[in-house]
C-alpha cells in the first residue's frame, strides 16, 4: 500500500501550466509608475497609495541581505509584479473559469473545502479568484475575506491600524518591496471567545512565467478566540526566475490561540523571500507548523513577539532541500513579557546537492523575567554532495531566564537501514521510511490530509535515491 502511494505521486500534480489568454500582465520591472498602476488597479484608499510609494522609496534605499543564500539570479527588472487573471473573485467554484477551477481541482482545494475546511481563499497569480466561508462560521462573526475588500469594509480602520505594523517596510528590502506591490491575500478576524472548530485555508498558485506574487495575510484572533489557519502554495516550473515575497501578520490577543500551518511547495525556479510575524499578548498561544519543500532559494523565518505575560509559542518545522535548492529557514523568538515560553523543533534534510540552513534567533529582553526558551534542531545529510548548516543565535538580557539549545547533524544510520533491509524492505524504501520517521514530529502536527501530502512530498523527493 505504501509503495502504491509513492507511485501515485506525480510531479505533474504541481508542475502544470495554464494559458494566460485574457489575463492582464503589467510590464516588467519596478518603478514608481508601476506602483501607481498597481494602486490604481486595486482602487487603493489614499493612505495605501501613499504607503506603497513610501515603501518603494525604502526599497530603493535598502541593500540586499549579505548573510544568506545568493540571490544574484533574481533580476527585479525582469519580474512582472502584477498579473490579473481573467476573472474577478467568486464565491462559487462554478463561476470560476474552467481552466483556473481545474487547476485548483487538481490541487484538491474544492474537495478539501467540502470535507474539512471552514473556509477557503484561492489566489491565482496576483488576485483572489475564489473566497468563501461556511455559513455557520460566518454566523459566529468570523470575518474571512480578501485583503482588498478588508481595506474598505467594516474593518477598514482595524486594517489601517495594523497593516505592516508588525512587519514595517523598513524591516528589510523585500518587506519594502511587498509594501510597494502587494496584491491579494486574506484578512481574518475571529471575534472574542469564538473557537473556529475546523481550519480556514488560503491557497496561493502562481502560474505566470517570470512573475512575482505578493499576497498579504492579516489575521486577528481576538481575546479568548481560537483558530487554525492553513496556507498552501505551489507553482509550475519555468526556466526564468519567479518571486514570492508575501507577508503574514498575525495578532494573537489575550488568551487566544492561533495555529498557522504551511506546506510550501513552490517550483524550483522560485525565489521565496517571505516574511511572517506574530504578536502574542497575555496568555496567548501561537503555534507555527511549517513544511518547506519547494523553491530555488528560500529565506523564511517566522517571528514571534511574546509581548504579554505568560505568552507561549511553538515552532515545528521541516525543510527538505533537494537538487538546485538553497533553503534558509528557521524561526525567531522575542521574549518581552514575564513567564513567556518558546519552543523550537526544527528538522532539515539535504539531498542531491541541496543546501539547507537552519537559522534562528532567540532574544530575551530584560523585562522577560522567568522566560524559558528551548531550541532543538536536527539535520540529516543524505549524500556527500549536499550541504547542511546550523546558525542559531541567542541574546539574553536578563539572568532571570532559562535558555537551552541542542543541535545535531548527521546521516542515516547504516544500522537502521540494515535492520529494515534484513526484514525484506528494499534499501531505497528503507531510507525513505527513515526520512519520513525523521519528519514525524512535524507531520503529526498537521491535519491528516496535509500530513499525507507532506509524506508524499518526502517520498517524491526520495524517489531519486
Amino acid at each position: 500500500m505504501e509503495k502504491q502511494d509513492v507511485k501515485e505521486v506525480d510531479r505533474s500534480l504541481y508542475d502544470f501550466k495554464d494559458d494566460e489568454t485574457g489575463f492582464y500582465r503589467m510590464e516588467e520591472g519596478l518603478t514608481a509608475d508601476i506602483v501607481e498602476q498597481i494602486s490604481e488597479e486595486k482602487h487603493d484608499p489614499k493612505w495605501m497609495h501613499d504607503f506603497r510609494l513610501k515603501s518603494l522609496q525604502i526599497y530603493n534605499e535598502l541593500k540586499v541581505p549579505n548573510w544568506g543564500p545568493p540571490i544574484d539570479g533574481l533580476n527585479m527588472d525582469k519580474i512582472t509584479n502584477y498579473v490579473r487573471p481573467n476573472t474577478s473573485m467568486k464565491g462559487d467554484w462554478n463561476q470560476v473559469p474552467d481552466e483556473i477551477k481545474n487547476t485548483f481541482e487538481k490541487l484538491g482545494i474544492p474537495q478539501a473545502e467540502r470535507e474539512s475546511l471552514a473556509g477557503v481563499g484561492a489566489q491565482y497569480d496576483s488576485e483572489l479568484v475564489y473566497h468563501n466561508v461556511r455559513k455557520e462560521v460566518a454566523e459566529q462573526g468570523v470575518v474571512y475575506t480578501d485583503m482588498e475588500s478588508a481595506l474598505t469594509g467594516e474593518y477598514a480602520d482595524l486594517v489601517e491600524q495594523t497593516f505592516m505594523h508588525l512587519v514595517p517596510p523598513t524591516d528589510h528590502k523585500f518587506a519594502a518591496l511587498h509594501g510597494a506591490v502587494w496584491s491579494g491575500g486574506s484578512f481574518v478576524y475571529v471575534p472574542k471567545g469564538v473557537k473556529v472548530e475546523i481550519p480556514l485555508q488560503s491557497y496561493f498558485r502562481l502560474n505566470a512565467k517570470g512573475a512575482g506574487q505578493f499576497e498579504h495575510t492579516l489575521i486577528i484572533v481576538d481575546e479568548g478566540a481560537d483558530l487554525h489557519f492553513i496556507e498552501g502554495c505551489s507553482a509550475p516550473k519555468w526556466n526564468v526566475a519567479n518571486l514570492h515575497a508575501g507577508c503574514v501578520e498575525l495578532y494573537v490577543r489575550k488568551g487566544a490561540r492561533l495555529r498557522y500551518s504551511t506546506i510550501e511547495n513552490w517550483s524550483k525556479n522560485m525565489y521565496n523571500l517571505n516574511t511572517k510575524r506574530a504578536l502574542v499578548e497575555e496568555d496567548g498561544k501561537m503555534e507555527w507548523v511549517s513544511g518547506s519543500f519547494g523553491s530555488h532559494v528560500s529565506y523564511l523565518y517566522p517571528t514571534t513577539i511574546l509581548k504579554g505575560d505568560n505568552a507561549h509559542c511553538e515552532y515545528t518545522g521541516i525543510t527538505f532541500a533537494g537538487e538546485g535548492q538553497n533553503l534558509d529557514t528557521g524561526a525567531k523568538m522575542v521574549h518581552i513579557g514575564k513567564n513567556t515560553t518558546s519552543y523550537i523543533n526544527s528538522k532539515s534534510i539535504s539531498k542531491s546537492g541541496g543546501v539547507s540552513t537552519y537559522r534562528s534567533s532567540i532574544v530575551v529582553e530584560k523585562s522577560a523575567k522567568n522566560a524559558t526558551s528551548s531550541v532543538d534542531c536536527a539535520s540529516l545529510m543524505l549524500d556527500d554532495i549536499s550541504r547542511s548548516d546550523t546558525i542559531p543565535a541567542m541574546e539574553i538580557h536578563t539572568a532571570d531566564a532559562t535558555v537551552g539549545h541542542e543541535a545535531k547533524i548527521g546521516r542515516i544510520s547504516d544500522e537502521a537501514v540494515f535492520y529494515l533491509m534484513s526484514r525484506g524492505i528494499p534499501e531505497a524504501e528503507a531510507r525513505a521510511m527513515i526520512v519520513s520517521g525523521f519528519a514525524d514530529s512535524v507531520s503529526k502536527e498537521l491535519p491528516l490530509e496535509y500530513a499525507v501530502e507532506m509524506n508524499n512530498l518526502i517520498k517524491l523527493e526520495m524517489e531519486g535515491e
Binding site: 541581505p65 549579505n66 548573510w67 544568506g68 543564500p69 545568493p70 538553497n326 543546501v355 540552513t357 537559522r359 534567533s361 530584560k366 539535520s379 545529510m381 543524505l382 549524500d383 556527500d384 549536499s386 550541504r387 547542511s388 548548516d389 546550523t390 546558525i391 542559531p392 543565535a393 541567542m394 541574546e395 539574553i396 538580557h397 536578563t398 539572568a399 532571570d400 531566564a401 532559562t402 535558555v403 537551552g404 539549545h405 541542542e406 543541535a407 545535531k408 547533524i409 548527521g410 546521516r411
Partner: protein, 386 residues
Amino acid sequence: MSETLKIAHIPSLTWNRLGVNETLVEGDLALTGDVDTRFETLPDGVTSRTLSPEEAKAFLAEHAPKEAPEAVVAGKVPIYHPQTFGTGLGADFDAYLAQGVKEVTLLETADNLTLTEPIRWDIECREGNHVAGSELIHVGRNSSLTLILCVHSDEKASGVFGNSTKVILEDGATLTLAKVQMLGSGFTDFEDTGAALKDNAHLDVIQLSLGGKASYLGCQSELNGKGSTMEAHTGYIAGRDQTVDVNYNTIQRGQKTDCQMHFDGVLDHNGQKTFRGTIDFRKGAKGSTGDEQENVLLLSEDPLNRTLPIILCEEEDVEGRHGASIGRLEDDMLFYLATRGISERQAQEIMVRARLSAITRLIPDETLQIDIRDFIEDAFRKKTLS
C-alpha cells in the same frame, strides 16, 4: 590615537542586527612595542629563535592549508577575509599586531620528544603598556609539549596587551596550550590562536580569561590530517564593567577528526559576553565528529549574553552536535543548598568556583592553579563578582 579593529569574523554571516558577525573594537589601541619572548631555559630538544615578521610569514605560508577562497562557505553570499594562516581573530588582528611586533619567537621541538614538564612563559604588564607578542610553535613528529602562557598585571593597571600564537603540529604531535589572563581592571586583552594539525596530531587548548576591561579570545584550529583531534576548555568571567568576546572556529578537513569544545562562563553585574563557536566539516572529513557545549551562569539582572554556536557541514559521514545552557542557578538547587544553611550568594560563589576550578585543574602547574584561585577570590572581594 583612536583606531577601529574589525576582528573575530564568523565564517557564515547571520542577521546583522544581532551584532555577532564580527566585533568592532575602538579606542586608543596603538601598540608601542613588543614583549620580551626569550625563554630563560628550555628542555633538551626544544629550541627557540627569533624570526623577522617576513620570515615568520614565509614559515607559516609553508604550513598553511591550501584552499581556494570559493571553498570558504558554499551556499552563502561569499565573504572573504584572506589570511596567510588562519586564526580566531583574523587578518585585521595580524595587521594590527604587526604595528608592535618586530620579531616573532619560533619555539620548536625535535621529533619523538616527550616532555613531562610544561614550559611556562609569564608576561608582566605594567601601567600604560601597549604591548604585543607573537610566537610560532612547531611541534615535531610524535613529540608532545605543554606550553603555559600567563599574562598578568597590577589589579588597577590599564593598557593594551595583544598576543598571537600560531601552532603547527606535525604527524602524531601533541600540544597542550594553556593561556591564562589575569590583567588589571583597565586592560584590553587580545589573545589569538591559530593551529594546523597533521595526521594524528592533537591540540588541547585551555584558556581562562579572568581580568581586564575587555578580552577578545580567538582560536582557529584546522584539523587537516587524518585522525587529528582538538579539545578546548575555555572559561571566563565577565563581571562589573567587563566584556568578553570569544570566537572559536574548528575546521575539520581530515578523515576521522574530532573536536570537543567546552565553554564555561559567569556573567555578573553589567558584564557582557559574546560567544561564537563554529564546527566546520569540510568535504572529505569522513568519519569525523565534533561537539561544542557552552554553559553560562547568569548572576545579575543586567548581563548581556550573546551565544552563536554554528555547525557548517558539507560531508555526509560526520556527526556534529552543539548545545548551550544559559541561565541562573536553578531554584531546586538553591533550595537544596538553603536547607543546608547556604545563602544564595554563597551558592553562587560555590558554583562560580566549581565551574572555573574544573578548567583550572587542567593546567599542569600547581603554583599557577593557586594564583588563579586567588584571583577569583579577589574578584569576589572587589565585587567584580557579586
